[in-house]
């Protein structure tokens, strides 16, 4: 049994109009559901930006002479973290949290450590003579530190030597990883702080990044 939409009169199943008020018996069309205007925050893909940032920082931090740029506040490593954040910001403009910047920075530090360790192998082979002098300089410095003995001292001397072995490559990787992950994380965080205000000034959509809860990668 149907009911009239206007006067609630009971209608026959095959009735086209209400016998009481004359209104059409067909049910009123329900307006189509409007698409939601709230755009869910886009899921961040951390890997391509982190690989790009890691390649930048790893390469520049391992090339002879150019790597000296790191003497200015770890410039290349901070820059690698910053590049990662900049690329992440293109995925989700002005919606990055400091945690996103930190995570991207740590990942780029990890990739950078891999790149720097791989690049350091041919660099060692090509600059073996310099490595020899570096080893001598460190040995000389150690002579002035009589209390510093043991396996750590031997490992440092081996890393400073032209030797290429599993031990020296692993030690180089671990040192790079510690430093790069830490400083690239700082670079990633500071880049979020800088990009946030720039995006606000340029009038891009979205509120400040702090108001967005951290997203899982």
């Amino acid at each position: 049994m149907n009911q009239c939409n206007q006067c609630s009169q009971t209608l026959a199943d095959n009735a086209n109009f209400c016998s009481n008020c004359g209104a059409s018996a067909t049910p009123p069309e329900t307006p189509p559901a409007r698409p939601s205007t709230a755009i869910p925050p886009q899921e961040l893909d951390f890997f391509p930006p982190a690989i790009a940032g890691g390649f930048f920082l790893g390469l520049l931090s391992s090339l002879p002479l150019i790597q000296a740029g790191n003497c200015l506040c770890c410039m290349w490593v901070l820059g690698g973290g910053g590049i990662t954040t900049w690329l992440l910001d293109k995925q989700r403009p002005n919606r990055l949290t400091y945690g996103d910047g930190a995570f991207g920075g740590v990942l780029s530090g990890l990739f950078g450590a891999v790149v720097a360790t791989l690049v350091s192998i041919p660099v060692r082979l090509l600059t073996a003579r310099f490595f020899g002098s570096q080893e001598e300089a460190i040995e000389e410095a150690f002579r002035e530190m009589p209390g510093f003995e043991g396996p750590l001292r031997d490992l440092i001397l081996r890393v400073a030597s032209p030797e290429i072995s599993a031990v020296t490559v692993a030690a180089t990787f671990i040192m790079n990883l510690l430093i790069f992950a830490l400083f690239a994380m700082v670079g990633g965080i500071l880049a979020v702080a800088i990009l946030q205000k720039r995006n606000e000034r340029m009038g891009k959509l979205g509120g400040p990044g702090e108001s967005v809860p951290p997203q899982l990668p």
Partner: protein
């Protein structure tokens, strides 16, 4: 703290660690008890500014952060081309460390929170 303790206690590994990220030129470093610190004046100032800012609980300000970055770069260029002043190096380093610390601490808190969030999923 490790930077200050290294020359006092003769902690060689601290010197070795910081040698990766600082030139450790004694002529550009502060001395404690006749020993150079394991980092240069600029780096030591950044770390001291960072620590002081965390202790004082300064609020994050991206305007100050950008200004301090520009000041440090300008100071570096001036030191390279014209006059290299230890006072300018320390002041620019202190400012950068102090303005960066609130952002970095916030980022680390959020990064650790992200780890907890992943564990709970």
């Amino acid at each position: 703290m490790a930077i200050l303790a290294a020359p006092l206690a003769g902690l060689s590994p601290i010197y070795l660690f910081f040698s990766i990220i600082c030139h450790q030129d004694p002529s550009r470093s502060w001395f404690i008890a006749g020993e150079a610190l394991p980092v240069c004046i600029r780096c030591a100032s950044i770390y001291l500014g960072f620590l002081a800012s965390l202790a004082a609980g300064l609020a994050p300000s991206s305007r100050w952060l950008k200004a301090s970055m520009l000041i440090l770069i300008a100071e570096f260029v001036v030191a390279w081309l014209l006059v290299d002043s230890p006072i300018a190096r320390s002041l620019s380093g202190l400012l950068l460390g102090a303005t960066a610390a609130p952002f970095v601490s916030q980022g680390i808190v959020e990064l650790l929170g992200r780890g907890k969030l992943r564990e709970s999923v």
